[in-house]
Symmetry: C2
Subunit: 187 residues, 2 copies
DNA sequence: CCGGTCGGCTAATGGCATTAGCTTTATGGC
DNA sequence: GCCATAAAGCTAATGCCATTAGCCGACCGG
């Protein structure tokens, strides 16, 4: 077997660079092959098809986010943990908007596994509010919806008005924290 | 001029039916042309290109959502208005998941205009919390992020766990209401 | 030294968007 | 009622992309 230098991992690396530069729509097999110095059909020796490459890329991105999120939450709990988590999430989005835009939310094995890490991190952070099991799941979903929604809208340029986005996100953060805490008091 | 029966409006109608049936990726000029009984190049006499068609479709969808949202909010205020708004939003998503998935959040004139309607509806609902101007904008963005995030994740099947989604959304609704009310009390 | 397999290649197909340029057809002014 | 015109259809052609089939050479273990 020739050139051992091209693994699926390496291909994902190249794919990420392409996404960073040209956005999600630039991620084509032709482009990846080109940047690897081979022709596109050769890629099929490493990756099943474009859909799988997208899934692998997404899994990598989710893992990156989970890394950031996990680090942010470390040593904090309750309000501070949620604030740090939300802040870390948005920081990732601002640092790598194209990657975030390329994220595909599929019930695909690799991505799902990485997503599981996030669920664990989030439910752990929520345990400080006295939430467990189902309650923690529902709260984690709410948190994720808020973060993801803001991220998607910001990345896609959907916030047209001139108001400062940092302020908006701070408000969203405060709302989530207040809301979660109220739940804690309620139950 | 022959066949006056095919306007941009009619094309969007056909496009929506295609999206409903096959999801966003099924929306191709070839498919639309086929369902209109013409060949694809003829479409360019009515629509600039695929991107514009997508934008027109999105504008229509945003208007549909604004209709539902506006109706839901009518005659209610504060908590009740927010609850009704969030409920209407998700009902639309559940009724037309493919349409929601096809939504493109572009800073494009038609969509932006429809989006303006939504902003108006939302800020009006938030005025009951004593929010005006910038404060209302930030709050509207937060609300939109929460609703959109949940919608996107639900539509894309990103919520893998068996927990009931209705319950999750109710929690998110409560969190938003509690958070917004706390803001009201704060200022 | 040799055979298998891995990883590259070329060729070919089919779907799609898009452009150019031709033809038909309805209609509005005469 | 007729005809010029412009709208709205068509065919042909291009180019990009994913994907499949089948070929070939190079590395590795024995």
């Amino acid at each position: 077997m020739p050139r051992g230098t091209l693994s699926a991992e390496a291909i994902v690396d190249l794919a990420l660079r392409i996404v960073d530069k040209g956005g999600p729509s630039a991620l084509t097999l032709a482009a990846v092959a080109g940047s690897a110095g081979i022709v596109s059909p050769s890629l099929y020796k490493h990756v099943r098809n474009l859909a799988e490459l997208r899934a692998l890329v997404s899994a990598r991105i989710v893992n990156e986010i989970a890394d950031q999120a996990g680090e942010a939450v470390l040593g904090r709990s309750a309000d501070e943990a949620v604030r740090a988590l939300m802040s870390a999430w948005r920081q990732y989005v601002r640092r790598c908007p194209n990657r975030y835009a390329a994220l595909i939310q599929s019930p695909e094995p690799h991505t799902a596994e990485a997503g599981q890490r996030l669920v664990t991190i989030m439910t752990a952070a929520l345990r400080a509010y006295g939430m467990r099991d189902s309650a923690a799941i529902h709260a984690a979903r709410s948190l994720r919806a808020a973060m993801h929604g803001f991220a998607v809208l910001e990345v896609e340029g959907a916030f047209g008005l001139p108001e400062d986005l940092d302020e908006s996100y701070e408000l969203l953060t405060d709302i989530m924290i207040t809301g979660l805490r109220a739940r804690q008091d309620a139950t």
